[in-house]
Subunit: 424 residues, 2 copies
């Protein structure tokens, strides 16, 4: 006897970009319901809605108040979720939509980048108990302290889906987009990239942190913490996608040593030259960056070509944080004591990820050899137990990805479907 | 010493139809604040937003679920109020926006036509106490029983403003639109129609019920119940508009005997012929109509030309209720016992309103004479203490309005600004 499962499904902005697509999603949701499962659906705003709202905001204010920007943007999911509920009702099934606030997504008060503090899904549970297909607005919540409406920032809808699935003790959280699953590399760059059947949370975390846009880091972290299996799949087909779950032990034994190659074009590199080579010099730089609330990624400190007890320090950071970081550092140039600041946006990052690599020391050597054979110069290198990342020229990035993918024999015999970005 | 006044301002959809207009409204709100008053602003959705959302709904479902339609439509005010708050912030003043639910607009659960049960404006009061210009979404509330989001239906934003002003014990509620105030007639029909400086609630109620679209009936009823003065004025000028307030005694002595001429093209007429002229016949007809939840306006019962103990009954009702009413009546044709049902959409209604007319019996005679001189045939006539209404051919309506306006010498010496419709 099969007991009723609870499935949480998340559909991104491109899956609901117009009325036609909303109806398709409705059919898909109804198909799941017909199997006998309870369904909670988390939706993003339709296609370009968020950009259109941001454009309106820019027309009335150059620097919109974050509280009001959240109030504005949350109109987006309100529209898509109500339409989806109507479309489901129209297929003869009962559906009800709920805002993040109604669904009990309790967050910090940090507008635009709120973090989930608690999930109190009482109304969602009642709605499920009453037999409704229950739709929840992704990306949004309500502040615990101020009771103001908040948004979760990038990857917010994925995070909503995972957090809600964890709170409801769902059996699985399905993340739908226009891609078939997680690939060994971006198929737009590597045509024979293969879809992975399974991947661990740890590898997925490294993939996400290394620029694979299919799942947001926060959502993966959340799923890992609660041991909630994620199923990354396409809203265009019924094919099984990629299961992201707990441990290697649970995964098929034929799981590849290496999961895939990720790349990232969103970072810039800052180099500060001739920093006094003494204790505290690096710390003073990174304190300035931290005070400006900027996250940095890779760091390298090398002996200055100038010598004389001075050193150069390079680090990578999101491009959009570049102006703020350079400004902050220049303000403290005297106290830090550096000579020049070089800001470089023309970099790319390539990463090789695989839980298997921790016990295979030859991986790093092969990785570097592949890049050398392709004529790609390594500017910064950094490694974790299950990842190697390298910064190179952005113009070299595509050939670097292909070279590494080939070197580790990750390709299949078929061309993969073409990849596209996912919504918020 | 002037104490701080609390002003509630309501801006309709055309006043905030694009970013430029939102900025204009922001300037206007800030000007009020600079005078030292506390300000609460109630806004409608921007221009065509509601129609666009309805169009989307129609694309996913022919008969959208009312609960979900309310969820969808309330995105409209969310967008306009957040933009207005941003625009005010951008002028250096602090503003915060609140949804109907957050503002404590507690309603019945009748989606699309919810009625306000209670207003609990705790958050609005706190926001005012903290010095914020406080913006509230018009048209929307939250159901007391289900906690679902509701909309108030036609005239909803006016009603929100008035209900909030009453609950906050505001000094005045200003209703802004693109008209200078309440006029003696529609200036599009009567070019020398004059703006009234003042009008009583009772007269305004009759004007609203008779088709003057400047203020919705529900809002006037609410204001009258709480004795809350309304100031109807233009968002395009700083001119004083029309004060709607308690009693004639409070109004200037030079106040005209007659307030104005209203007209209405939104009604249809149903005539059922040869109804048995016996007790209960009319009642059975109106019971059928009431069971179909249709409001009727004017009723006339006249001796049938056929004689023989039968009579004809005519009544007017909103055009959109026409099909439903004819269907309901035909279903009960046998039990009611009428012969024919005649449905007529080509009617117009003209009304003369004036608190002064109750003590001037000559008014009705003059009114009918004016119509006769203009060659307008009277089909139905109905009177209250402060109103006379007549149904005529819709093609005669404009000349009827002009004739009556002239007869009672309501015109001024200047041409009035051109009238336009107001938002929800």
């Amino acid at each position: 006897m099969k007991s009723v499962a609870l499935v949480v499904q998340k559909y991104g902005g491109s899956s609901v970009e117009n009325a036609e697509r909303v109806k398709r999603v409705a059919e898909r949701v109804v198909a799941t319901r017909k199997r006998g499962d309870d369904v909670v659906v988390v939706v993003s705003a339709m296609g370009d809605t968020t950009d259109e709202l941001l454009d309106l905001a820019a027309q009335v204010s150059p620097v919109p108040e974050p509280r009001e920007l959240d109030m504005l943007l949350t109109a987006g999911e309100r529209i898509s979720m109500a339409l989806l509920a109507m479309a489901i009702n129209n297929l003869g099934f009962q559906a009800r939509s709920f805002t993040g606030s109604q669904a009990g997504m309790i967050t910090t008060a940090a507008h635009g980048v709120a973090r989930i503090i608690d999930v109190t899904p009482g109304r969602i549970r009642s709605s499920l108990d009453e037999g409704f297909i229950t739709i929840v607005a992704g990306f949004q919540g309500v502040s615990q302290d101020t009771k103001d409406i908040t948004t979760l920032g990038r990857g917010g809808s994925d995070t909503t889906a995972v957090a809600l699935a964890a709170a409801l003790e769902a059996d699985v959280c399905e993340i739908y987009s226009d891609v078939d699953g997680v690939f060994t590399a971006d198929p737009r760059i590597v045509p024979n990239a293969q879809k992975l059947d399974a991947i661990t949370f740890e590898e997925m975390l490294e993939m996400a942190a290394s620029g694979a846009k299919i799942l947001h880091l926060r959502a993966v972290e959340y799923a890992r913490r609660y041991g909630l299996p994620l199923h990354v799949r396409s809203s265009y087909s019924t094919k099984t996608g990629t299961m992201v779950s707990g441990y290697m032990e649970e995964l098929p034994v034929e799981q590849a040593l290496i999961s895939g190659v990720a790349h990232d074009r969103s970072e810039a590199k800052i180099t500060v030259t001739s920093v006094p080579d003494k204790p505290g010099a690096a710390a003073s730089i990174f304190q300035v960056i931290a005070d400006a609330e900027i996250d940095i990624d890779m760091i390298v400190q090398n002996v200055s070509t100038a010598g004389n007890g001075h050193t150069d320090i390079s680090f990578t950071l999101p491009k959009e944080a570049g102006p703020k970081a350079t400004e902050a550092l220049k303000k403290h140039q005297t106290s830090i004591g550096f000579e020049k600041l070089i800001y470089d946006e023309n970099i790319g990052k390539i990463s090789l990820i695989g839980a298997g690599m921790r016990s295979h020391p030859g991986v790093t050597a092969n990785f570097c050899q592949a890049l050398a054979d392709a004529g790609v110069n390594i500017e910064i290198i950094s490694t974790s137990e299950i990842r190697i990342s390298v910064v190179c020229r952005d113009t070299d990035l595509d050939s670097a990805v292909r070279a590494v993918h080939d070197k580790f024999e990750l390709g299949g015999h078929e061309e993969a479907v073409v990849y596209a970005g996912t919504g918020r």
